[in-house]
Subunit: 254 residues, 6 copies
Amino acid sequence: MAENRAYILTEMTWPEVKEALDKVKVAVIPVGAHEQHGPHLVESCDAVRATEFCRLLAHRMYPKVIVAPTVNMGVSYHHMPFPGTISLKPATLISVLEDIVASLKVHGLKKFLFLNAHGGNQATLEVAATIIHEKLGIDIAWLQYTSLSREAMGQHIKSQLSGHSCEREVSEALYLAPHLVKKDRISPGDLKDLPYRYMSIGGGQIGVNYTFKQITANGALGDATRATYEAGKDIVEEALNRVCEFLEDFIGKR
Amino acid sequence: MAENRAYILTEMTWPEVKEALDKVKVAVIPVGAHEQHGPHLVESCDAVRATEFCRLLAHRMYPKVIVAPTVNMGVSYHHMPFPGTISLKPATLISVLEDIVASLKVHGLKKFLFLNAHGGNQATLEVAATIIHEKLGIDIAWLQYTSLSREAMGQHIKSQLSGHSCEREVSEALYLAPHLVKKDRISPGDLKDLPYRYMSIGGGQIGVNYTFKQITANGALGDATRATYEAGKDIVEEALNRVCEFLEDFIGKR
Amino acid sequence: MAENRAYILTEMTWPEVKEALDKVKVAVIPVGAHEQHGPHLVESCDAVRATEFCRLLAHRMYPKVIVAPTVNMGVSYHHMPFPGTISLKPATLISVLEDIVASLKVHGLKKFLFLNAHGGNQATLEVAATIIHEKLGIDIAWLQYTSLSREAMGQHIKSQLSGHSCEREVSEALYLAPHLVKKDRISPGDLKDLPYRYMSIGGGQIGVNYTFKQITANGALGDATRATYEAGKDIVEEALNRVCEFLEDFIGKR
Amino acid sequence: MAENRAYILTEMTWPEVKEALDKVKVAVIPVGAHEQHGPHLVESCDAVRATEFCRLLAHRMYPKVIVAPTVNMGVSYHHMPFPGTISLKPATLISVLEDIVASLKVHGLKKFLFLNAHGGNQATLEVAATIIHEKLGIDIAWLQYTSLSREAMGQHIKSQLSGHSCEREVSEALYLAPHLVKKDRISPGDLKDLPYRYMSIGGGQIGVNYTFKQITANGALGDATRATYEAGKDIVEEALNRVCEFLEDFIGKR
Amino acid sequence: MAENRAYILTEMTWPEVKEALDKVKVAVIPVGAHEQHGPHLVESCDAVRATEFCRLLAHRMYPKVIVAPTVNMGVSYHHMPFPGTISLKPATLISVLEDIVASLKVHGLKKFLFLNAHGGNQATLEVAATIIHEKLGIDIAWLQYTSLSREAMGQHIKSQLSGHSCEREVSEALYLAPHLVKKDRISPGDLKDLPYRYMSIGGGQIGVNYTFKQITANGALGDATRATYEAGKDIVEEALNRVCEFLEDFIGKR
Amino acid sequence: MAENRAYILTEMTWPEVKEALDKVKVAVIPVGAHEQHGPHLVESCDAVRATEFCRLLAHRMYPKVIVAPTVNMGVSYHHMPFPGTISLKPATLISVLEDIVASLKVHGLKKFLFLNAHGGNQATLEVAATIIHEKLGIDIAWLQYTSLSREAMGQHIKSQLSGHSCEREVSEALYLAPHLVKKDRISPGDLKDLPYRYMSIGGGQIGVNYTFKQITANGALGDATRATYEAGKDIVEEALNRVCEFLEDFIGKR
């Protein structure tokens, strides 16, 4: 049965893992965050989205993929002004990832994908992959999965300044894990002007320290009231298709 | 309604957290592990037990307690010979805990409990509490919760060499999270003789490097076939009562 | 006289620095690399380009900008298969940047720009800025400057798979520091097929460990034989204009 | 002669060490502390007790045991309110132990015992043993030696809340190193109520940050006026017997 | 032609490095500082002197020596009270050196010289050489080069309390890199009494924390007005001769 | 009485320390090593000499000086080829010193002297003093004490290549702690030619990685058969006089 045909490490006993390892080619590590997501998404949103996306991926790629436990906190200093947000230091996140990879390498795994659902983690994941590759000689890929959904995004998402608790993210949540959404409180982002020209958060090229408090009073971007299950489905499924294509290449290489 | 009357950070939006923080006195961090649990318990067992115990605790202590995201991996080198086990370095676990405490301190929390479900974490938690207290001036308690259930253990548990995937742990899982248990594969520990006299794993006083492979062929201790829901309930509820008593003292102090 | 009207810290005495600090608003740290640049550019290319770009910037923004000593090595593991390449660990680069910022903070500087000429540093710079901001409360921006030259790039650069020792970089060098170019050895990249679909090096969204040896036999991308001084001038000047606009905003903010 | 028949590294020349290493099977590292010990014991008490116990052990196990230099400071933050106390960070103590083990491994030693005389070190020693074993592949045991003296403790020690500068510790000192004891100032602990129920210091199961200032005004526990040489002798000799039994097993294994 | 006959890594392409590596025996790393040098020398003085000395050395030892990129900042806390000074932490400088050595070891280099132009780096270089040798098994020498010029110093230098922005250093700069010298502002050191007897800065044996602010009001020592090109030439050339003699021994060994 | 009139922290109770702290101005930390000392000195030689010198110093400076516990291991990689030698990593030694200083700062101490008896520690002590001063704002001096005994050395010591297990060190030991000396095995150093010209070990200026195995077959330098109690006394007493003069300046300052 479909539901069962996905290797999810947290739901397996060791004899089951032992048997799976004969067939598995890639370990996928879901990487999320614990941070404010506006008035309408709960704070574990990124951790749960990463987990659920990986579950679908493992099902699609069965038996070549196994899903590791979720890294359920990430680098979220820019959300700290909002209550409840927790941020790992970049060095902590790197250590957690290194320890997971080193442990699974002991069990024979040689290729890894960091499947990321939180933009604020992306630079740290690149640094982590560089460091871990140098130390352990393991090939690692990393990806913020919604960046792959170019077509579905173009078709469905109309909000400007998207990227957090927005039309796109609520759509995704409606498809992947609707319990994340407080449907009666969905609100558009209460946006402020960006403080500087060319900021990367606004689609520019310059990174700069900022907090979400500087750009949105309610912690959300875009207009989440436009979110739909259909948009979420198309975004997630396009990303899934692309990740599967990549993984086939990744597995096939040397 | 009861189910809702527990502050669980992963299930809250930031405006909900903001409101809760006026009443909350202690943050409880569930600390688990990802490691082999014999043929009959899945590898996330300790992480899930810690999470579910904390949910009950937050309910019981509402509105004085809030539950942080679960630390879902721990120090498990002694289980590495069994497939799927992941071990954090002690320094990594300490960093994760420090980052959680430092973040929640920003939001105004001043007292913490590390609620631990995995014996292999216990020394690291003590070191973490020492380090974090020195750095951040925060009061921290730490506890492997089943150690509090003296009476229920004496009444229900008959196995010798208990402590992992055993009569006690399966009983607990049946009460807290029955989906962790593969009921058709429950087996007694396939035990070997302990390699040295006075080992702490055997109830002695000498700590020494060892792996579970040296003491049990199937990764389990004790006799899990004797596990019952009732034993689990009594063990968990006794621990809950004691933790609540402690927290009342902890909150009341200065 | 123009040449002199730029605050370059390496060329000043302490009484000159003392006087300048009354007017300076931002310290710019040039960040380069020491790595192979194909048969036609010397290995210090990125360090020198960063330095020369900053010199022009300090002149343009005089007296609001001061240029720190150049960070002349960076994160270059992906070029290590080519002789002479030196790579810093990401943690080392972060420490160097932190020490520079901490020292200049003692002298009263409060805003910083990491002016980067090497793509491989970009993730580490973001992590560095995050860490240093948390520790020191200093506002930091970071930028790979050619990413700002959208118009000039569109007009001049025809090569595919640009980004290293290519038409764009040689053009820049001809304008900023022609001694970097071995004009008699300019060659097009000796390219191989990319190993995976959707790789970020190829304009995709998936980061993955790779080395330049896997994608180019001579260490160059694109077609450097098409490089011109004019293209270099337009690319550099467009970036300069944009950085100046950003810095005006950055200085003006609180 | 007996006194000479014990391998004590600090008292040997390198040619003597070279000869001894042919016969030695285990290196024992005495681990103490430098901290307040009430009005009647000097601050080096734990370091000296560890040293003297190891001297007896090396004599008893001659020629199978060699004693390393004493680690004469430990983790003592909980005694810092009393003048003179010095605390190592846990990470420092771990580094010291790792460097000793790594050095002696170069000389051919493969099994180690951390012989500990200070409760506050115990968790750090467990973490150290875990880390060092992972890094160096060396088998390590660790032990707070008085925990082995169950029978002698039951027979001799009547004080409640024992464990520091108490009836037990002064008795030991009278036997092992009487110069540690200021006999004219021996006083019972000036005890306060424990701040929380179930504290591990009080025999419970919950660890929590505290200082000795919170539980005793003069820095002592129990009633040291009841201490005797005979109690000390029985406690030490029972522990010695048990450690020797353990070491025979430890040496014999693989 | 002479100028070209020196292997300077920053000025070479990778194919040139590849060819050179067949003949090179030692990599020399110039180590400088960025710090105040009184009213008459610019702050990059030590970095530039180290670089230029190494250029002469590589020419003299061609083709046995290759010069790495310059470490252009060092340990300069004692100059921090003067504007513009930047200090690396000792741990940062060690990491930079380790990364350079580790990278060049990948390219086949096995012997290294840290050619130092700043006294404040000397202890850190010794520690770095110790650490890197233990980690990488590479033979490293380190040297503050002017310490070798005993004869020329005795003949030319008359100032007392020499060592920074003094008669000796300005003389050297006039020979090695005259653009470092602001000739119209050359001044004698504005000296204060040393705070303690036997200080190593005053030729004694006791090291102690101090800053240059405590010993000179203008940041210079000695009497730089006595500096000459001839003195600089003799000092540099004597050091060059001695370093070459050492390198012949160093290369010849094993 | 004299013997008692010296503040030695290891021999005091906390009430005694409390009283002493009203008068004490400087804490002196004895720093030794555990390493081979040829056929005639035991391996703890440097740790014991440092301790005994400090005891005399505390007596001479009573009540202004207090002696901390001895750092009984140091940086000794260059002695590792001889059995029994233990080396701390430089970072470990720095951490130990930092923890001691930080702890004693809590008790009110503000000035420190690292009294060193082992040349191999000297660079690490300078780095440690720099780091700790920056972190804690504490004034620290450091000294290898025999370097102060210029006159007595010139008068008594005739050996060339002195510095370890030599005429000077055995003389000192005869005066400070005769039990360190195996009098029936005193031998001259079994010296080899130095491998390179200008080595600092041979009185030159170039530091370089080496081991004592390369320069002496029996681990000793010089000619220890010439050692006398009188030479030791004069060397120690001259150093004591100079250190006392320095400490008077050090205490008097600000």
